[in-house]
Amino acid sequence: MSSEQEHLKETDTEARFEFKKEEKSAFKADKGLTEETIRVISEDKDEPEWMLQRRLRALKQFQKMPMPTDWPGQPDISEVDVDEIIPYIRPDVDVRAGVDDWTELPEEIKDTFDKLGIPEAEKNALSGVGAQYESEVVYQNMQERWEEKGVIFCNMDKAVQEHEELVREYFMTKCVPPSDNKFAALHGAIWSGGSFVYVPEDTTVDMPVQAYFRMNSEGMGQFEHTLIIAEKGSEVHYIEGCSAPKYSAFNLHAGGVEVFVKEDAHVQYSTVQNWSKNTYNLNTKRAIAEKNGRMEWISGSMGSKATMLYPSTILKGRGASDNHITIAFAGEGQDIDTGAKVYHNAPNTKSTIESKSIAKDGGRTNYRGLVHIADGAENSSTAVECDALMFDNDSTSDTMPYMEINESKVDVAHEATVGKIGDEDIFYLQSRGLDDDDAKQMIVSGFIEPITEELPIEYAVELNRLVELEMEGSLG
């Protein structure tokens, strides 16, 4: 065994995600989805009438829309039967809207997040932290200095009560309407938890805020909603982490993320997704960027059985820009179908998409992306770069970009490469005294470095550890 792998064992990365906790819930909805379920959830949350009505409208949308089955080469999601999903589990936490001190949490929940390293990270590198367990946010805290400046970071359910006007205006109205896709509709009907972030004008939140989402129960669905509003000239970096223990029944994650990047604002949204390999990750994430606004999506997709996720940005204002960096790692039994969508709807807009994917042990990765440049979006430019690395012959690596260019004064470039790990590279490293495993690991780390260097150091380390974990075993 290589020294790297020994190190891995010591850090115990695997055990950090795979452990299960006994299920203790205060309220657990029945399986399946009916109007009754939704009324019960809404009542349990003590929501205003308009939110209930929005949920019910979304439910109607959901029932009307067909499952997406006709995408070329899409992952098999036929197993996803919403009637088998437990849509809502409220963990047994005294304070309904979550606590702001880890010690107030029930022991098993605190222990979960301790193992995931969240309180530790909060101390060192974050402005604020939210932690969701099952369907509800159980912990939420932000440094006082941000509160004083008017920054809001709270859980979504609390925002519905305390910032009703803002939520009513922005929640699934302008950015991701429930009619967007079947799982957005499902999300609109039974969303629960998630974060609400509001950054006032000209405020720069210089350390990231983080939310961590944990599913613990078998057969549940998590549907958290994240709404970020960055006012004119503001700046914020939001980090999202996800994990769940593995069960034999499937779990479903259908979150919704809406980001409003106002004039001159800058939002970075980073995700390290490590759902268990029985989870279907069918998320809808979208940002709208106004004049000179800048949106950045950084995504690491490591876990899940099947992922269909295409974070999108609508460049609505002149000079707005978008930057996508994604990395997908598919091992045995995984089908990671991810990419990016960018709509250039204004002049002088700019986007860059950088995608890296690794497929091994029969896994499949697919880059599926759309860049649309509308008529009149002159002087826009887009550059898309996809690189894929394949380890073996059981794996599949696909690239399916789509470009729709309605404007002539543009600069559009797309590039993709697929290759295997170079024998020469390995030979070179071996000649320097590294063994085969370490050499491969080093090459993979180098391959994904453009992504890891964008993340705060703690998360870069985390991502590298996850990659090492994935690499382990098959190489030995």
Partner: protein, 402 residues
């Protein structure tokens, strides 16, 4: 979709076409099977993105476009050497066995609605047979379409170590008042170590809709090289495809198009790597002026058994007008890791600095732009080994720019 039944089409129509041409039973059966498939065969796949369909084939009204019994064309075939180049009619007697064996072996007639329609109704086309070891260079097939609809079928069979270069062109002849439909299926069977180069130039009148599917089956060490040039038609759907079924086989697909007015080009280049040590190179360059629109799909599909594959794809579109639209989707489907594959696609306009440089040399801006457009095609034209074909393309580009 619910397939469009064409009321005027019946078994009688198909039998009449076959009888007039004195066709053997197997072909009549093939035609009738194709006719029957119209009931359920779907239209060819078209790329869809949220809220958009890149090409609307369903808008084609076959009821009025298709006039099966009045097809007319003038086709000149020219060849020197030990090669058979003739119409199917002339080939039945002597090469009936070859025809029967290879016809429909590369393109399944019932594959989609448009292939089925084409096989059921074709009245023209060319059979090219290159016996073992024979090498011929200048096979030319120049056709004029003189009717409302025309269905053409071409079969090329190149035996072991045979080599052939074929140039095909299609233009509109006599004026017809109505909208027109031209359908062109080309099958190439390249045996071991055979080498087939097939150039095609389409310059039909602007009232025409064109469907063209060209597919080759490359055997061991065989190479199939395509040149596909599209200038005419209002709507063009063109698919050029190679199946690399033999070890060490190769294919190059070179495409050019130049659209103006409200022309719509749906250009597709696809290659399937199914054997070891295969190589493919897909190169397409197109220019769009006025309200023209292009749709491009390139597919490089590397199968599980395709060890040591090399596969490359490039597509570049130049937009001369703000009303033009260019959509592109270059796809990689990779099932074997022993692969080196890449693709790239770009869309842009004439480079402002290049233009400025030429103008600073006192070249008129229109002339300068035209020079740059002609220059844009050069990397593709360089791939065309046949002088005559290259000159034809250059002439058409120059004509468009005038």
């Amino acid at each position: 979709m619910s397939t469009k039944a064409i009321e005027s089409l019946s078994e009688d129509t198909v039998r009449r076409i076959a009888e007039e041409r004195n066709e053997p039973d197997w072909l009549v059966e093939t035609r009738l099977d194709a006719l029957a498939a119209l009931e359920s065969a779907p239209l060819p796949d078209v790329i869809q993105t949220p809220g958009r369909k890149w090409t609307d084939l369903e808008a084609l009204d076959f009821e009025t476009l298709v006039d099966p019994l009045n097809q007319a064309d003038t086709t000149d075939r020219d060849a020197d050497g030990d090669v058979v180049v003739c119409s199917f009619l002339e080939a039945f007697e002597e090469y009936g066995d070859v025809l029967e064996e290879s016809f429909g072996s590369v393109i399944d007639p019932t594959e989609n609605y448009l292939t089925a329609l084409s096989v059921a109704l074709f009245t023209t086309g060319t059979f090219v047979y290159v016996p073992e070891g024979v090498a011929v260079e200048d096979v030319t097939v120049r056709a004029e379409m003189n009717s409302r609809s025309l269905f053409s079928q071409t079969l090329v069979v190149a035996e072991e170590s045979a080599s052939v270069t074929i140039l095909e062109s299609i233009e509109s002849g006599a004026d017809v008042a109505d909208d027109r439909y031209f359908s062109n299926l080309v099958e190439i069977v390249a045996g071991e170590n055979a080498n087939v180069q097939f150039g095609s130039l389409q310059n039909l009148s602007p009232d025409t809709s064109t469907y063209s599917l060209k597919r080759g089956d490359a055997g061991t060490y065989a190479s199939i090289n395509w040149i596909e040039s599209n200038f005419g038609s209002r709507l063009t759907r063109s698919d050029v495809e190679t199946e690399l079924n033999g070890d060490g086989s190769e294919s190059q697909i070179v495409g050019t198009f130049f659209g103006h007015d409200d022309q719509h080009f749906d250009i597709n280049a696809r290659v399937w790597h199914r054997a070891e040590h295969t190589t493919a190179d897909l190169v397409t360059r197109g220019v769009l002026d006025e309200e023209a629109r292009s749709v491009y799909e390139g597919v490089q599909d590397v199968g599980v058994d395709a060890w040591n594959t090399s596969s490359y794809q490039r597509e570049n579109t130049l937009m001369l007008s703000d009303e033009a639209e260019a959509d592109a989707s270059p796809k990689l489907i990779i099932h074997n890791h022993d692969t080196e594959a890449s693709h790239s696609a770009t869309v842009g306009q004439v480079d402002a600095e290049d233009l400025f440089y030429l103008e600073s040399r006192s070249i008129d801006s229109q002339v300068a732009r035209n020079m740059l457009v002609e220059g844009f095609f050069v990397p593709v034209l360089e791939e065309i080994a046949v002088d005559e074909f290259r000159e034809d393309v250059e002439a058409l580009v120059a004509e468009r720019l005038r």
